[in-house]
């Protein structure tokens, strides 16, 4: 019996006007989007390799250790998944003079957008009248006058609906993936396909949830025209409002000091206050030292000091002790103030992390954010990849630092007279920066909470639909 209802539900949907429209729309949009994104990805790879060549050319003629950090910077290379999911990859470059305003005005569209906005809308459009529409048509009475339970009816309705939704989604995605598969320059590996499989599973949970929601709302209403109003209202809140509000709400509940004022504060600590402290420490140390070397108490002019250092060994000893103490005083001042500043930055980082965590928890109230986090983390374009990339950059930075020290040491042994810091050096043996995506296992583990929330949402909404339908007045 259940099968009959599912079949009826699917057939009913498939030949409906709204299903056909959704199908056509999805097919066109998914194909066009994937086509454009793939081309854009190819352009990005070309540009990335061109940028690397420019850097290589520069390194051939001007590779000095001085200011090398400006030239050799770790940047995120384009990854093959960019032909489907873009996540946080858009390059606004706001830290530099040349920023790109276009993604700020209109963020670009990718598979995540198609699923979160379009598929959820399609799910609601197909489900908003699944109960009250049948009541209006009078078929609900007829159906339930047969000898089968309401729970079977609702189960059949929802599973039939979700299966119908799968048809246009999977079909248009397959067409889009053909574009990727036929493009020889886009090389997807096993992990990519695995991640895509999980993203599709997440998408099914995502629009399944909206189908349950639509059915639930439908079984709370007796006319389909008010059901669509409520559905759209809830949809607007869940999809368009809650995610956008959540970081602001989080910044309200768990505020962080502004980076600018912290920057100023720490700059003061390591600048003027450091100078004050350094002078104070130096004075103290020198007063101590004068007790040991009374010669230092004399006030001599610069030239006279130089003269005496060369002539008088006792004075030289005293003078060298003085230099050591002065250096020690400033080192001490730098250490103390540096620690203070880094403690402030650590505290700041802790607060920012707390706020980020809170925002992501708040936003997870909206299924849109759950799916967004899930899809971007799985495709290495999300928060997790930012951290992963940061680690790789740091490791490479350390490796390059070691290389630089060793290289300068060896060069200095060869010719101590040269200022190797400011001389062109052959650095072709430098450690290369090499970005590798995080393994699939780690990515999957990170997305488990989002999956769990989606499943819980499904369960809650399904039971809500179930209980409302059980008590629904079909007359």
């Amino acid at each position: 019996m259940l099968k009959t209802i599912i079949k009826k539900e699917i057939q009913n949907n498939i030949f409906s006007f709204r299903f056909l429209t959704s199908f056509a729309l999805l097919l066109i949009i998914v194909t066009v989007t994937i086509f454009i994104l793939t081309n854009d990805y190819l352009k990005k790879i070309d540009e990335y390799s061109q940028r690397q060549t420019e850097i290589e050319n520069y390194m051939k003629s001007y590779a000095h250790f001085n200011r090398i950090g400006n030239i050799l910077q770790a940047t995120q290379p384009p990854i093959p998944f960019y032909s489907l999911v873009r996540g946080l990859s858009s390059d606004v470059n706001i830290e530099e003079f040349d920023d790109d305003p276009l993604p700020v005005i209109f963020p670009l569209i990718d598979l995540v957008f198609i699923v979160t906005i379009l598929m959820s809308l399609v799910a609601l459009i197909l489900s908003y009248d699944s109960v009250c529409g049948e009541k209006e048509d009078g078929t609900l009475k007829l159906m339930l006058s047969n000898g089968f339970s309401r729970s079977k009816a609702i189960l059949g309705k929802i599973s039939g609906g979700v299966l119908t939704l799968l048809i246009p989604f999977v079909f248009s995605l397959v067409v889009g993936l053909l574009i990727i598969a036929l493009q020889p320059r886009v090389a997807w590996n096993g992990a990519d396909w695995g991640a895509l499989g999980l993203i599709v599973a997440g998408a099914v949970f995502y629009f399944g949830l909206f189908y349950c929601l639509g059915t639930f709302i439908s079984s709370r209403h007796h006319s389909s025209s008010s059901s669509i109003m409520t559905s759209l209202f809830v949809w607007v809140l869940l999809v368009l409002i809650i995610p956008n509000l959540s970081p602001y709400l989080a910044s309200f509940i768990s505020p962080t000091p502004s980076r600018i004022s912290i920057d100023r504060q720490t700059a003061r600590l390591t600048d003027t206050e450091r100078d004050d402290l350094g002078r104070k420490l130096m004075k103290e140390k020198l007063e101590e030292l004068v007790k040991k070397y009374p010669v230092l108490a004399e006030n001599l002019a610069e030239a006279e000091i130089k003269d005496r250092v060369t002539r008088d060994p006792a004075y030289r000893e005293a003078y060298e002790a003085r230099t050591r103490e002065v250096q020690a005083a400033w080192d001490e001042a730098n250490r103390i103030q540096g620690e203070k500043a880094s403690a402030i930055w650590r505290e700041m980082g802790r607060k920012e992390a707390a706020q980020t965590e809170l925002s992501s928890y708040l936003s997870m109230l909206s299924p849109l954010s759950d799916f967004t986090y899930l899809a971007t983390d799985l495709s290495s374009t999300g928060v997790r990849n930012e951290a992963h990339f940061g680690r790789i950059r740091e490791m490479w930075g350390r490796a390059f630092g070691d290389y630089q020290r060793q290289k300068i040491e060896t060069l200095q042994k060869q010719d101590p007279a040269v200022d190797w810091w400011n001389t062109a050096v052959d650095m072709s043996d430098r450690p290369r920066y090499n970005y590798q995506e995080e393994g699939l296992g780690g990515r999957v583990k990170a997305t488990l909470p989002a999956f769990a929330v989606l499943v819980i949402f499904n369960l809650i909404l399904f039971s809500a639909a179930y209980f409302s339908f059980i008590k629904y007045d079909v007359r």
């Binding site: 006007f17 429209t21 454009i36 001085n66 030239i71 606004v92 600018i260 980082g349």
Partner: protein, 421 residues
């Protein structure tokens, strides 16, 4: 007769479940948005007070724009601090928050609420105007009177427009009054005038979606199919066309990425600094000036080359996106608010000019005396309304009006031929 129909529409709207939901949505969203964006503005304002350049410092810094509360646009990019040195412009964007979740979702400002939510609401007011009355049978009754079909349609349009526009404008104005109670914001009369234009644009924008709803309603027999079509058209116009159009434009115009440009600039100045260090011992001063000039010239050349291409990209993407009135609306509102793309490029041009004058002063022989560190303050005047209109906003406004007339006319023709039985 026209007003009778309009009045009937308003009354029947006021009593409907739809109106209740919409009113709730408008009130909650507008107030929340104003509250949040106001707070965001205040935070940025206090940051600005901290880093405000002292007299004589060669720093170009704009105060946050009060209109960014309504349309944030590029205000974050505009209020970065541009520090001028011999090697060029160094940007400090400390304003950026460490909370990465901000970059996932668009800013919920007034512009976003109107563009996305209010357009949907306007469609909901229009989608069943004709098909519902036909389903209920009242359309036949109404047209059995001697009233013309044009009047019926116009009456419906006016009635629905007012029942949406009046509460919306009232809530917005109330919000603006609350905002202006804050002394820090300090709306000038120019700001208020601009705000007035933004409101007018908003009304034209929602009028368009109402006409669109009316058109589809006259082309369909059932309200259910009308809403399906409308929701898809809405998703296309509001999200898909503008977001896809920019990407498409990037395929058609060959523009290097901003990151590539920044890397080139780094290479230029690092190269010149190193060359000058290598030449030390010669007549240093003169050589350094030569290198500074090379840096400045190369940077300007790079920048100009890039911005020529980039402007072509911006224009093309704007023109592609303008297929959708939602894009026209965004361009016009951000331009008027002074947070749009053209404003930013205008501003950056001024920053480059300021940089040239500062560097000239830094490198001039007189610069070596005690007044070396005194530089003229940077000033920037936002484009005036007439400039903004002349440089695109008027076109966008006219384009929106054109869409309105077109869709209303189309729905008129459809309605005249509508089978009311």
């Amino acid at each position: 007769m026209l007003w009778t129909i309009a009045k009937k529409e308003i009354v029947s709207n006021l009593l409907s479940y739809k109106f209740f939901i919409v009113l709730l949505l408008i009130v909650v969203l507008i107030f929340t948005s104003f509250f949040i964006m106001h707070r965001d503005f205040k935070n940025r304002l206090s940051d600005y007070q901290v880093i405000r350049p002292k007299p004589g410092e060669p720093i170009a810094l704009l105060a946050p724009n009060p209109l960014s509360i309504f349309a944030k646009g590029l205000d974050e990019a505009l209020t970065r601090s541009f520090e001028i040195g011999v090697i060029g412009i160094t940007v400090r964007a400390g304003q950026k928050s460490g909370n990465i979740i901000f970059s996932f979702f668009p800013t919920p400002d007034f512009l976003y609420i109107v563009r996305v939510v209010l357009s949907l609401v306007a469609l909901l007011f229009g989608f069943d105007q004709v098909s519902r009355e036909k389903e209920m049978g009242t359309l036949r009754l109404m047209l059995a009177n001697t009233v013309s079909r044009a009047k019926v349609l116009l009456g419906k349009w006016l009635g629905n427009f007012f029942s949406l526009a009046v509460p919306f404008v009232a809530v917005t104005l109330l919000g603006v009054v609350f905002l202006s109670l804050d002394r820090d914001i300090n709306f000038s009369s120019a700001h208020l005038l601009k705000l007035g234009f933004i409101l007018v644009l908003t009304l034209v924008y929602i009028a368009f979606f109402l006409s669109l709803g009316l058109l589809i309603s006259t082309r369909t027999k059932k309200a259910a199919s009308s809403i399906v079509i409308l929701l898809f058209i809405w998703a296309l116009l509001v999200f898909i066309i503008p977001n896809l159009g920019t990407l498409l434009a990037r395929q058609l115009v060959d523009v290097p990425s901003v990151r590539a440009l920044s890397e080139k600039r780094q290479q230029v100045w690092t190269r010149e600094v190193l060359l000058s260090i290598g030449e030390r011992g010669n007549e240093q001063r003169g050589n350094w000036a030569k290198h500074v000039k090379t840096i400045s010239d190369d940077n300007d050349r790079l920048g100009e080359d890039f911005s020529n291409k980039f402007n072509r990209l911006v224009n093309l993407s704007k023109n592609i996106n303008r297929i959708s009135p939602a894009a026209s609306f965004v361009y016009a509102v951000t331009d008027i608010a002074g947070t749009g793309i053209s404003e930013e490029s205008n501003f950056k041009r001024d920053v480059v000019r300021y940089k040239d004058s500062v560097i000239q002063k830094m490198m001039s022989p007189v610069g070596s005396d005690s007044k070396a560190n005194e530089y003229p303050a940077f000033t920037y005047n936002y484009r005036t309304l007439s400039q903004v209109f002349a440089q695109g906003a008027l076109f966008d406004l006219a384009w929106l009006v054109f869409f309105n007339i077109l869709f209303f006319a189309l729905s008129y023709f459809a309605f005249v031929k509508y089978d009311v039985r």
